[in-house]
């Protein structure tokens, strides 16, 4: 074929040039590390001692036997189960409440989104002040009602929920914005038709709004599952993983195994477990979302 015909028709080497920059980044920064990580998970690789050859599934067996690692998996799952529904429910609630053209709502949208731009250091600093046992905002607030202050950060029961609250406060802006975008895709005529069809507020919500943004709900849930499985900074800075490992997340375990204990193979194996869990959870969400209706 003549070159004059350009891109349409048979492939031509210049076409590849257009894709090359992206492909190089994808291969170099994503695909290669992924493969390298999988390979590393089956090696005995110590950052000081160097590579001592393949060890099969020994790293994974060690993980399974590691009481602390099993604890981090439990903590992480608990954290995901606490935060993801909260992100979906609260994000949707805020979006529904603020999906209008009032100036007040525009301001509140900005405020709720505003905290997302803060770094984890600032956020945890603020919330440590809130959670401070004697002089914190929470203790003061409880004091107003004559209740004794509680030290959430040193409670094995409450430390993880406390971190979940910080996380939801911090990045509720993203799910809220995604839901707002979804809600604005719903044609106003549908609500008018529903009003003429005698649908009350609840019926309109369950019969019109929620089915219309079903895809957005799935997207938000998947995004949040993927994000929250990677809990690290908040836990490290608020509790350091304590008390008694009750808030230690998987990423912190990986970080400590790899960069404190320098056992890269072992850390890589833990990473693969995290990756597998996230993949399963995300696929389950997609599957559940698709099953509910075509």
């Amino acid at each position: 074929m003549a070159e004059a015909e350009g891109g349409i028709g048979p492939s031509h080497w210049t076409n590849a040039a257009f894709v090359a920059p992206y492909m190089l980044i994808l291969l170099g920064m994503l695909f290669m590390p992924l493969c390298l990580g999988i390979w590393l998970a089956f090696q005995d690789y110590d950052m000081l001692g160097g590579w001592s050859g393949g060890v099969g599934i020994e790293n994974f067996q060690n993980l399974l036997d590691d009481r602390i690692f099993r604890g981090t998996v439990r903590n992480t799952l608990k954290f995901v189960l606490m935060t993801t529904p909260a992100f979906v429910a609260l994000g949707l609630f805020l979006a529904l409440a603020l999906n209008n053209t009032l100036r007040r709502s525009a301001l509140l949208r900005a405020i709720f989104f505003g905290s997302s731009v803060l770094s984890v250091t600032i956020v945890t600093l603020v919330w440590r002040l809130v959670y401070l046992p004697d002089r914190g905002l929470l203790a003061n607030a409880l004091g107003l009602f004559g209740l004794p202050g509680v030290d959430l950060m040193t409670s094995q029961v409450w430390a993880l929920p406390a971190i979940a609250i910080v996380t939801v406060w911090w990045i509720i802006g993203l799910p809220m914005t995604l839901f707002l975008a979804g809600l604005q895709q719903i044609p106003p005529e549908l609500y008018e038709a529903a009003a003429l069809d005698n649908a009350g507020r609840w019926r309109t919500l369950t019969g019109i709004t929620l089915p219309s943004i079903r895809r957005t709900i799935v997207v938000v849930a998947v995004i949040e599952v993927i994000l929250q499985f990677q809990l690290f900074g908040q836990a490290l800075l608020i509790t350091g993983g304590g008390p008694d490992n009750s808030t230690r997340p998987m990423v912190q375990f990986i970080y400590e195994a790899g960069f404190r204990d320098l056992q890269l193979g072992f850390a890589a194996a833990a990473s693969q477990v995290l990756f597998a869990l996230m993949l399963i959870a995300a696929l389950a969400q997609f599957w559940a979302g698709r099953r509910k209706g075509v």
Binding site: L190, E192, A194, A195, L196, A199
Partner: protein, 357 residues
């Protein structure tokens, strides 16, 4: 079936007054068409009846009961929207059942009503499909079906044919007229298309700038337009308007002169009009005949098949259009002489009001 009555209704959006002190009675069982150009307030008026817009002032009564103070769903009206507004995640059956379920209609009754409507509209085989799997015409039928099952006292149609192609539109017009004969409900239909209004309405309400220009049967509106606006809005091609001067009276009727000098004897009584008054003569294409009279130069010839429209310029430059059955043997640039059927001509005063004989 109910009388719909609008009493001194008005509405403004910010500074813009869209409906101005409008009163209207629509007898039970009428097919009333609100006709007017974009922005004349016809859709707003319909939405006020439906309860989708609040009233600035006035009252709306349906079947003797005031409805403007109650919720849209309780008014006994059903609406067919311009873009149909079918619930995309529901099947056709669920779409039709939604409103009935909300008022706790027994399931077997819902099924019966849906089956009846589906049969009437020939959509029985579409009941398990979703709106996304339907063509425009099928969606249109479903939207009508969703209104029918509610057995409303009044049907409200908001330009429902504007999304259909020409062939389907003319077929749907006939079907809607047939539906009206069958269900005998009051129907209010909003459109800017005069053909839809002429063909379907039992009564046309011509609106302009938030006011009613004229109410009447299609032929009343066509033959005796009360204002120059109505005269120009109804009919295709649009009525010819020519500036004329009243010159004399003949047997009590006014005689006017055209720009070219030719005179036309109208049926308008001359009483009360002074000689020389500046008037506008309105005449439809079918009432202009070539042969004798004022000379005009042929400008454009439009052949429509069954008839041909000839646009010609009079000596003062004003354009006049006339039609002839079949084809014509004219060429552009030729001169024709045209005569106006004075008995069928209309005269409008400087305010645009018709002077009727």
């Amino acid at each position: 079936m109910a009388d719909l009555s609008l009493r001194h209704v008005s509405k403004r959006f910010g500074q813009v007054e869209v409906i101005r002190d409008l009163s209207l009675e629509i007898p039970s069982g009428e097919f009333a068409v609100f006709l007017g150009p974009s922005g004349c307030g016809k859709s707003t008026l319909l939405r006020m009846i439906a309860g989708l817009e609040t009233l600035g002032a006035g009252e709306i009564h349906l079947g003797g009961a005031r409805i403007d103070t109650i919720a849209p769903g309780d008014r006994g009206v059903a609406m067919v929207f311009q873009h149909y507004a079918l619930y995309p995640h529901m099947t056709v059956r669920q779409n039709m059942a939604f409103g009935l379920r909300n008022i706790a209609t027994p399931p077997n009754e819902i099924e019966r009503k849906i089956a009846d409507a589906a049969e009437m509209l020939e959509i029985a085989e579409l009941l398990e499909r979703k709106p996304g799997q339907l063509s425009g015409g099928q969606r249109q039928r479903v939207a009508i079906g969703r209104a029918i099952v509610k057995q409303p006292r009044a049907f409200l149609f908001d330009e429902p044919l504007s999304n259909l192609d020409a062939a389907l539109r003319s077929r749907t017009r006939i079907e809607l007229a047939r539906l009206h004969q069958r269900v005998r409900a009051t129907m209010i239909f909003v459109t800017h298309d005069q053909v839809e209004a002429m063909t379907m309405a039992t009564r046309i309400v011509v609106m302009n700038q938030g006011r009613i220009e004229q109410i009447g049967t299609p032929m009343e509106i066509y033959q005796r337009p009360r204002t120059r606006f109505v005269a120009g809005f109804i009919g295709a091609p649009a009525m010819n308007f020519l500036p004329v001067a009243a010159v004399r009276e003949e047997a009590g009727h006014l005689v006017v002169t055209l720009p070219g000098g030719a005179s036309v004897t109208t049926t308008v009584p001359a009483a009360g009009l002074r000689s020389g008054a500046a008037l506008t003569l309105g005449v439809r294409a079918e009432h202009v005949h070539p042969g004798s009279g004022a000379p005009a130069r042929v400008d454009v010839i439009e052949r429509l098949g069954e008839r041909t429209l000839v646009y010609a310029n009079l000596s003062d430059g004003s354009t006049i259009v006339y039609d002839e059955p079949g084809d014509v043997v004219l060429q552009v640039g030729e001169t024709v002489h045209i005569a106006i059927d004075g008995a069928a001509a209309h005269l409008f005063d400087a305010q645009g009001m018709a002077l009727h004989g």
